[in-house]
Subunit: 231 residues, 2 copies
Amino acid sequence: MNKTEEPGTDDRPPIRDLLVSAAFELFTERGYENTTIDDIVRLAGVGRRSFFRYFPTKEDVVFPDHEHALAEMVAYLQADHSGQDPVTTACGAARVVMRMYAENPTFSARRYALTRRVPALKTYEISVVWQYERTLAAYLGRSFSHLPDGGVRAYTVAAAVVAAHNYGLRTWLRSGATGDAAASVDPALDMVRRTFHEPEDAVVLIARTGTPLWQVVQKVETALKQDNSGS
Amino acid sequence: MNKTEEPGTDDRPPIRDLLVSAAFELFTERGYENTTIDDIVRLAGVGRRSFFRYFPTKEDVVFPDHEHALAEMVAYLQADHSGQDPVTTACGAARVVMRMYAENPTFSARRYALTRRVPALKTYEISVVWQYERTLAAYLGRSFSHLPDGGVRAYTVAAAVVAAHNYGLRTWLRSGATGDAAASVDPALDMVRRTFHEPEDAVVLIARTGTPLWQVVQKVETALKQDNSGS
DNA sequence: ATTTTATGCACACTGAGTGCCAGAAGCCAA
DNA sequence: TTGGCTTCTGGCACTCAGTGTGCATAAAAT
């Protein structure tokens, strides 16, 4: 599948990376609309037909790792998360995507600058995000199937998780993509997790007036332990 | 050329409606991809250039009332909603859009059948929905500006409201777009409203053991009244 | 009646995306 | 090495969406 990865002398990057580099160089220099596919393949030194072999559309070259990120999310959701709140698992899946953005801060920042300016790229980005949302909704739909409003809840929680993730990510990107992306994303996701926590996770403790404090503390401790082990 | 109809009776629908009708007829008959702009204008009996005067892209003809719907939502949000929960107002704005869909059930159903099958139209629809979401987020951002997490909360609630609205609308459309759309959309929106209600709206009443029931009832009544008047 | 304005139309052009075929480059058996 | 087999790449021609421009016609204004 891959080109000859002989340990000898193949320092030439594969065509796909060549195209991405050439495209971003031209897009940032003279703009997305003012750059044709011919310009890109000329700079990359490959044939025009090869571009569409690696990227079905002109927009795809701006999101070269999208397929990979989506596959990672699916793999994460397919792993075992029994005993964990489904909302928490969904937030974990969002964090997987966040980490992939954080792995290439400069690339993510340049792409963000592009998607902000070019409407066509913004539209494409939204459709990409929507695929994440759909994947999360499918997972949550399975987890919420026992609830009477499981269907709505799944779609709503998925949308909320994705929105919070994007908000945190945008905050990080606007701050120059320096520092820890999780510091921006995690608080946003925690807010979603708190608001959508099931009431079954809450403990209401009733005690007679006059109960000694140590007994109350003990009861609270026991109740919280039960709540952790159960469900 | 031969446009000179009798000047007395101009019951001929405007070109814009002609194009929409012709486009939908061809799209549902032979598919979106297999229909060219030339086919549409030929059936509509107008020039090719006129199509792009009314619809900037081929996708736009599938959502001819989008601009109007967005304007209606903006107008609704600009009206006075003081004393109402911002989340409730956002749900009301979503209901405005829902009503516009419900006004033309058959058209909405045909469009739904198209957007389900054609990826390009699905992408366009997502970008349309995203504009609603952005508008809601801007409104909620103003309403939540006093909260420490107002930014995330605004975007998250907007996403949740839109997701719930779409879920209800899809449910209605899949059931043949017969009956009341609100019956599907309202419960979904109510779920969002409940989960995002501020804790300041809750009342926790503490009473000594042995307090007579009528006193408890009285206290509850008073507390709820205060909660209603204060905001 | 003539100028102004608006609107639809025809023509030509750019550029994205596709189908097809030819050639180059690996791979495996003989 | 040779010869077939597969895979990858490039070139060419084509369709079609979308744009710029100029012209024709009808209504409106003067």
